[in-house]
Amino acid sequence: MKEKSLKQQSTARIFIRNLLRNPSAVIGLTIISLMILGAIFAVQISGADPDYMDPISGRLGPSLDHLMGTDQLGRDMLSRVLSGGKQSIYIGVLASFLANLIGTVLGATAGYLGGKIDSVVMRVSELVMTFPQLILVLIFVSLLGQGINNVIIVFALTGWMTTFRLVRGEFFSLREESFVEADRAFGFSKPRIIFRHILPNTMSPIVVAFTINIAIFIIAEAGLSFLGLGVPVTTPTWGNLLTAAQNPVVIDEYWWLWVFPAMSIAVFVLGVNFVGDGLRDVLDPRHKSLIAKSKWKVALVGRLGRKK
């Protein structure tokens, strides 16, 4: 027993060591952790409460007092940009987790069982995938209403296809392997074979898809909030901060109201993509082409990468 745990620890250690040796993973992890810390300690770093209003000193450009200026209600932009990460990252991570969960369960089931179930789910995924994502999200929002949880649900419902396809593909090849036949010959139940035996072998593409989905959903949140249909405006998220730029006067004169939140999104998304690249290299060199497959807006590429 003791030996067993030692062994496990050592595989984990090897994984972490490889990850830390991978330059893009290190850069990505550094960016992400700094931004998460920034979000947690927004008040301490900026010295201002993100919700504190001082309407008299609204629309001030960046200065020593307010490094990123203030918004129309005189709230400190630095504090808002930093703490805006909290909800944006939360939405990205949770939505990505749920989307992956849906994609994995459907992919595993369809991939293992094949047949009618598989072709039905496949058709649905094709449809969802080709539908311009934003329109799908908008339709869901118009049905469900706004709110953080609804945004997360909507993203999960419209973003599971990449994972689904990856997992399904893996299952298609893995289910032919002898150990699965052996499991069946031993009389293992289907859930046990699917989830305990095959699934662990598909973990690396799932993990990579998870990180990339985070980036995709953070951008999607920004787009949705920019249109005024995302999270309630009283919650500062990067997307909500960008809403200011709907006003042409703001685009023209108060650039700090939209440039800083947009930069935060770009930097964080880059960080996540770096981690994704790193994970891909460390976990499995086979999945080099994943990044092209996972671009949310044109996830349809994934369809082509699939082996027949």
Binding site: P55, Q72, L73, G147, G228, Q246, D252
Partner: protein
């Protein structure tokens, strides 16, 4: 870089040529033309001429449509327009209007009393129209019989030669100003159309009109060009072309000379326009109310809790910060400074402690989430001020959720009622409209239940013929309003008219741009 981007564009366009199906002839800008922005873009609708029976006041209405009378900039006193004059009977229940003769429609047909009678009767047969006409015309004898399915004429309107006689059930003190807003439409064009859906009729793409201008080019969704109407009996308009466009960026278009006239109440645009030296501005006090409807069935069922809201929000700081000079904080429908204001109404200075005390007195349930809502497509300023309201309510311990409604605001407000506080705007013709809302069975009464007290006072107000009576009734209404506090008045919003300094002949005093008045459009000229 510039060259590069241009060549990119050219490439793309070459491709787009293949699909673009627009084939409107090119137009050279003439010296004597002006460009007017009517609606800012972003909506889903098609740029069109809106039925003046729904809302009048845009430049296209000023230029093309005419009523029996023409109001002055205050909208109260009138001059004859299509009518040569009018006469009231002694009891104020019979109005006789005499129509001028020799006026022609833009298609050459004569204007007749039939057009006037048909228009008045038809208003009650369309699905959608402005309440000021409906409220006034419902006082005409026989109006009950007229609607989309039934009789098409009111027995109370009769004609004899060029005289039109209108019999009223009770005196209506606003009838003449309302008739000055009510645009006469051509019976000979519209009589056989589907009157119920008049507002979407093809007529509006090229209307047969009476005004100095008519439609020249109608490029749907893009622009409309008005040209002089040669059948107009008055002096010929000076400007040969009025372009009505949709502007995505008023300030930039004004700066670059693409725009000569527009009106707005958006504080950011107004602030930015202060640096545009080629324009002059005219800020107008209009009766544009912004207020919060308080749902009295939830946590705010106790009037003390509603009173607490008046102290909990620092309007005097928020309104100037967001609207600058545009916003004027109000504490009642008849705001302080207006005639007949009831001076016993408190000024409601921001006082957190007092708000907290009142909430405690009301046993306020702080565990309930206060749903603060606004109608969709809100302007940025609206979102900002309500965000600030939400923040200040949070500061006195409430849990607030602020969202714009996705969907139809009127359904949400009066049918679904899933809110505690909801923003509403009211562009009123007169103060009476503010109070008339309380007893409207289609709106507030759905939320509040029957309001006989308001109903009684409101009908007295319409019938009152003397200033003294009006003042007394308004005082009573304000007192009644103070007992209930169903509305939380926020501010008035001024409308600003911006006009290029190149244009002369414009009125010395501008009126409410949401209504029609004597703005001399035919004598405007451009340098």
């Amino acid at each position: 870089m510039r060259k590069f981007t241009k060549s990119l564009g050219a490439l793309g366009l070459a491709a787009a040529l293949a699909v673009s199906v627009l084939a409107v002839p090119s137009q050279a800008a003439t010296n004597n033309s002006i460009t007017v922005a009517e609606v800012t873009a972003g909506g889903g609708g098609v740029q069109t001429i809106f039925s003046p029976w729904i809302n009048s006041g845009s430049i296209s209405h000023h230029a093309m449509f005419r009523a029996l009378f023409k109001a002055d900039a205050n909208l109260t006193s009138v001059k004859p327009d299509l009518a040569s004059g009018y006469k009231y009977s002694k009891d104020g229940k019979t109005l006789t209007v005499t129509l001028k003769s020799g006026i022609k429609w833009s298609d050459g047909k004569d204007l007749t009393v039939d057009d006037v009678v048909w228009s008045m009767n038809s208003l009650l047969r369309v699905a959608k129209s402005n309440a000021i006409y409906v409220n006034a015309f419902k006082q005409i004898v026989g109006s009950e019989a007229v609607n989309g399915t039934n009789t098409t004429t009111m027995s109370g309107i009769t004609t004899k030669g060029n005289d039109i006689t209108i019999s009223l059930k009770a005196p209506v003190n606003t009838l003449i100003p309302v008739l000055a807003q009510f645009m006469i439409l051509p019976k000979h064009v519209l009589a056989n159309e589907d009157i119920l859906k008049l507002d979407t009729n093809n007529y509006w793409k090229n209307p047969v009109v009476l005004g100095p201008y008519k439609v020249g080019t109608f490029s749907q969704g893009n622009f409309i060009t008005l040209v002089p109407n040669d059948k107009y009996e008055g002096s010929k308009p000076i400007i040969k072309e009025i372009n009505i466009i949709v502007s995505s960026n008023l300030v930039a278009d004004a700066k670059s000379g693409k725009l000569d006239y527009f009106t707005t109440n958006d504080p950011d645009t107004i602030r930015a326009m202060s640096s545009v030296s080629t324009f002059k501005s005219a800020p107008l006090d209009v009766l544009f109310y912004r207020y919060l409807v308080i749902n009295p069935t939830g946590p705010f069922s106790n009037v003390k809790a509603r009173e607490a809201l008046k102290y909990a929000i620092d309007w005097n700081k928020l309104v100037p910060a967001i609207y600058g000079q545009q916003g004027k904080v109000i504490n009642s429908g008849v705001a302080s400074g207006m005639s007949f204001h009831d001076s016993s109404i408190p000024k409601y200075k921001y006082d957190k402690a007092k708000a907290a005390a009142l909430l405690k007195e009301a046993n306020f349930d702080f565990s309930k989430t206060i749903r603060l809502r606004t109608y969709n497509q809100s302007q940025p300023a609206v979102m900002l001020i309500l965000t600030a309201v939400a923040q200040q309510l949070t500061e006195i311990g409430m849990k607030v959720e602020f969202l714009p409604w996705t969907g139809d605001a009127t359904t949400e407000l009066w049918t679904n009622r899933n809110y505690e506080l909801a923003l509403k705007g009211l562009s009123a013709f007169n103060v009476g409209e503010w109070f008339a809302e309380y007893s409207n069975p289609a709106t507030f009464e759905k939320l509040l239940g029957a309001q006989p007290k308001y109903a009684a006072l409101n009908s007295q107000l319409i019938q009152s013929t003397t200033l003294r009576d009006t003042g007394k009734i308004l005082t009573d209404l304000q007192k009644l309003e103070q007992q209930d506090l169903y509305k939380l008045p926020m501010h008035f919003l001024k409308q600003v008219v911006f006009i290029s300094k190149n244009i002369s002949g414009t009125p010395t005093k501008w009126g409410n741009p949401l209504y029609v008045y004597q703005n001399n459009i035919a004598s405007w000229s451009a340098n």
